[in-house]
């Protein structure tokens, strides 16, 4: 555990992070996440975070050394896409039993499990994850991995991020440390070139990186490694020969980007492929970094031409939605896709942002959002958010799965923009897709139906035609109402929203 705590202290010191630099030495030691309140906590553990970062490496066998819950309750649950290998979707766990724990058979079982996987699946590498119980009983996974690696002649990588170490975010960083220590730089590529880049922190959810990669291809830029989205083990192992890097999900893998710069002189920038301006900015930055590292400067002009062309197409497509979405009020409640650039594009077509969660945004993002005088909130209690939405103060909420029922039970349109989402939102086409999905969500005909009270609960209608008025025309009128020929009820409900 001592090496683990040293590592944790090391990742808590992050010179490339503004937030981290703003803290004094003592505050820094506490780490990035606030202490949790028992009985009122949400979010994953360090193991969860580590697995999220590493699991999308598609041809690796990911072996979780734990009792059942850690893997059994969580496997095959994220929407990262693979263009080839599928081994990452096969779940491997030592599934420790009571007997294993009591008799101290954990390490032996782990070693055997590695052998079984090697023999049955012959993967290029096996990643072994430690967890709370195996850390507590003192299983030395690093030693087991080293021994198994030597014995079986393949890379067996220990990922030492047990859940009790801390938050999901810490787990992200510990996973990056495992890559730095055991994977990156272990294979020399024979085809390194001046246009090679790494993309760090891109998960290829719903395959969305494939909306971006063709743009890079068009510019002659090669993605040496996209970590972790749709990555192969060899890509990651030889990632140290890239010329430049882009870091996409800023809070997750900043230590990876910074240390790769220190060790292998790979400059990086923080960027995003969400939104039009950010996508353009990212392409521009990539080209500039490559030129700085010796690529032919003519790429800059070509990049600008491509940007101009693609932006024009995207804005034209978006413009088509202005008529339908102008003045619609949107709440953005997420830690995931938090790009300022999305907000910018949405506002550009007339959508009004009536609430933005800034829990995980960078200081810079917060400043930009503040300048625009939006309704920024750190984190809103479920009850308050529900109240806000059920009072009809927003037309749609964009958030992650965790809060979806707040919107849905408040009968408010909702769109998933976190890891379980069904649609790809990156790049120029992705922005258009996002707006299309917002349009589809807001204008779905179910909203009118679900908001309408049951006809027998609809007081005004009953007052107008009390059943005691037994004149023939009145009852005929009432009958018509219930067979749906008179739209008065739905119209009045629509107006109140």
């Amino acid at each position: 555990m001592s090496s683990l705590s040293a590592k944790i202290q090391d990742v808590f010191n992050e010179p490339a992070c503004d937030k981290n630099c703003g803290k004094d030495a003592k505050a820094r030691k506490e780490g990035c996440s606030k202490p949790l309140t028992p009985g009122a906590a949400a979010g994953g553990c360090a193991f969860d975070g580590a697995k999220i970062v590493l699991q999308p490496i598609t041809d690796v066998a990911h072996l979780v050394h734990a009792p059942l819950a850690c893997e059994g309750n969580s496997w095959d649950n994220r929407g990262a896409a693979s263009s080839g290998a599928t081994l990452w979707r096969t779940s491997f766990t030592t599934d420790l039993t009571e007997l294993d724990v009591v008799m101290g058979q954990g390490e032996r079982k782990l070693f055997k499990a590695i052998r079984e996987i090697k023999e049955a699946y012959a993967p290029p590498a096996i990643f072994v994850y430690s967890t709370c119980v195996t850390a507590l009983i003192g299983d030395d996974i690093e030693a087991v991995c080293k021994r198994a690696g030597e014995k079986f002649g393949l890379a067996v990588v220990p990922v030492n991020a047990p859940g009790l170490a801390g938050s999901k975010n810490l787990g992200n960083k510990l996973a990056a440390e495992a890559l730095l220590e055991h994977v990156i730089g272990t294979v020399e590529p024979d085809d390194a070139g001046p246009y090679d880049i790494n993309i760090l922190g891109e998960f290829n959810l719903s395959g969305e990186f494939w909306l971006v990669k063709p743009l890079l291809d068009r510019l002659g830029i090669r993605v040496r490694a996209c970590i972790p989205g749709d990555a192969r083990y060899l890509d990651v192992a030889s990632a140290h020969r890239a010329r430049a890097a882009m870091m996409v999900c800023s809070t997750a893998l900043i230590n990876l980007a910074r240390k790769m710069e220190e060790r292998w002189d790979i400059p990086f920038f923080e960027g995003s492929f969400y939104g039009i301006t950010d996508t353009s900015e990212a392409l521009r930055n990539i080209a500039e970094l490559l030129v700085k590292k010796g690529a032919d400067p003519e790429i800059l002009a070509r990049t600008e031409t491509l940007i101009a062309q693609e932006e024009a197409i995207a804005w034209k497509k978006l413009e088509a939605y202005r008529r339908r979405l102008q003045g619609k009020r949107l709440v953005l409640n997420t830690g995931g896709v938090k790009s300022w650039s999305i907000v910018h594009a949405l506002m550009e077509i007339g959508i009004e942002i009536v609430g933005t969660s800034v829990k995980k945004s960078t200081l810079e993002d917060k400043e930009r959002i503040k300048q625009d005088d939006n309704h920024m909130f750190e984190q809103m209690a479920a009850r308050d958010l529900y109240a806000m939405l059920s009072e009809g103060k927003a037309d749609i909420m964009l958030s992650g799965g965790r809060t979806q029922f707040i919107a849905l039970k408040a009968k408010t349109p909702w769109l998933d923009i976190n890891q379980e989402r069904q649609h790809p939102y990156a790049g120029y086409d992705g922005m258009v897709e996002l707006v299309r999905q917002i349009d589809l969500a807001i204008h779905n005909p179910i909203w009118r139906q679900v908001r309408e009270p049951a006809p027998w609960d609809c007081q005004p209608a009953m007052k107008d035609e009390p059943p005691s008025t037994t004149s023939g025309t009145a009852s005929l009128h009432a009958l018509k109402k219930f067979t749906g020929t008179t739209p008065t009820i739905s119209a009045s409900v629509e107006e109140t929203r």
């Binding site: 028992p38 949400a42 994953g44 969580s74 420790l96 055997k112 079984e116 859940g163 479920a382």
Partner: protein, 453 residues
Amino acid sequence: MTRILSQTKSASVNPLKSSQPLGAALAFLGIDGAVPLFHGIQGCTSFALVLFVRHFKEAIPLQTTAMDEVTTILGGSDNLEQAILNLKTRTNPKLIGVCTTALVETRGEDCAGDIADIRLKRAEELAGTEIVLANTPDFSGAIEQGWAKAVSAMIEGMTRPGERARQSKKIAILPGWNLTVADIEHLREMVEGFGLNPVILPDVSGSLDGTVPDWWVTTTYGGTSVEDIRELGAAAHCIAIGEHMRHPAEVLQKMTGVPYVLFESLTGLKDADRFVSLLSVISGESVPASVRRRRAQLQDALLDGHFHFGGKKIAIAAEPDQLYQLATFFTGMGSEIAAAVTTTDMSKVLERVPAASIQIGDLSDLEALAGGADLLVTHSHGRQASQRLGIPLMRVGFPVFDRLGSQHKLSILYQGTRDLVFEVANMFQANRHAPTPEKLDPFRKRETPDGPR
């Protein structure tokens, strides 16, 4: 006699199990105004919560004691106390169901002692909230055991002990975890049809049936009431469904003298008949015309459906009682159980499962055994095996995250069995292979060295 083959692999590949605390939490979710609380790391709760949400498509109240490195070393009783007090002030639940996890059980925490202390020390603050403990380490059991332990714990902790005046019309029903919302609703209607008053524990049909309340609630809304659990001893009879509910039923009998009858399954004509006859005997009422009508419909479904089932090879992976329920259904229709995989060898029902052997294992075992089968039957995680083998998958149990409405699927008694017959027959019809000259060529089969398949 069914042979039970124990697991010999060290690496579990594509787990069949969901964890034991998850099963316990599911049982607590069937109680009105409840919040289950996992005593462990926040990740234990987070994973279970995400899985519940993916299955039920509902907001699920589930909390954590948020243990960390320090409390793992120093002990978690303070976290447990804080979590209980925080839940009380924030959501004022009628029941907090504490489920332990592997971490605190590995530490060997005395959670029962801790909870007794907390209740004593904080009696005033916690008035009006029951606290029940289920010891559910992740390293043993699965949903079935977790569910049963939680039900036993609720009866032990809340039901008033001692023999008492019995209400002749009151029937306690202890359903297994594998009964869906639709199953429970149907069960209640059936029992009420005989003029009886069923108290169902747990009752997920009140809490996880997917409704839109007009306010925001942070506990369950609906399910068995705490008062009903206290008064369970006044029932004239108890009906337990599933072998895993034997222990809770025995606990109730020991505490209050309420006699129980156990049904291993309520699926299939014979078991439905047994159940309905029992209700008729208990109530002294004759079987209502509508129930007779349902029975006739099932008879007809068996007649129409059996063409599709005869000789079919079925590969099932499920927890013991559900395995028994489905295997007896399929063999009752003329199919053969080609592969049976389950989670534990602890259940007595396994020896009665109509299969040559049962493998204790995971979905990779199912995949290895299912070659040549006509249908895979397991939860949604079987989708990869189904794709690789090219065999259709019937989704049952938990989790079902890639199809909607699994909670509203009925598969018990006459009506549920009828629906099941249709569902499976339709799957067979949808996946029928068209005849080709090659497949039918009489000489083709002779070329294979092993002879005809």
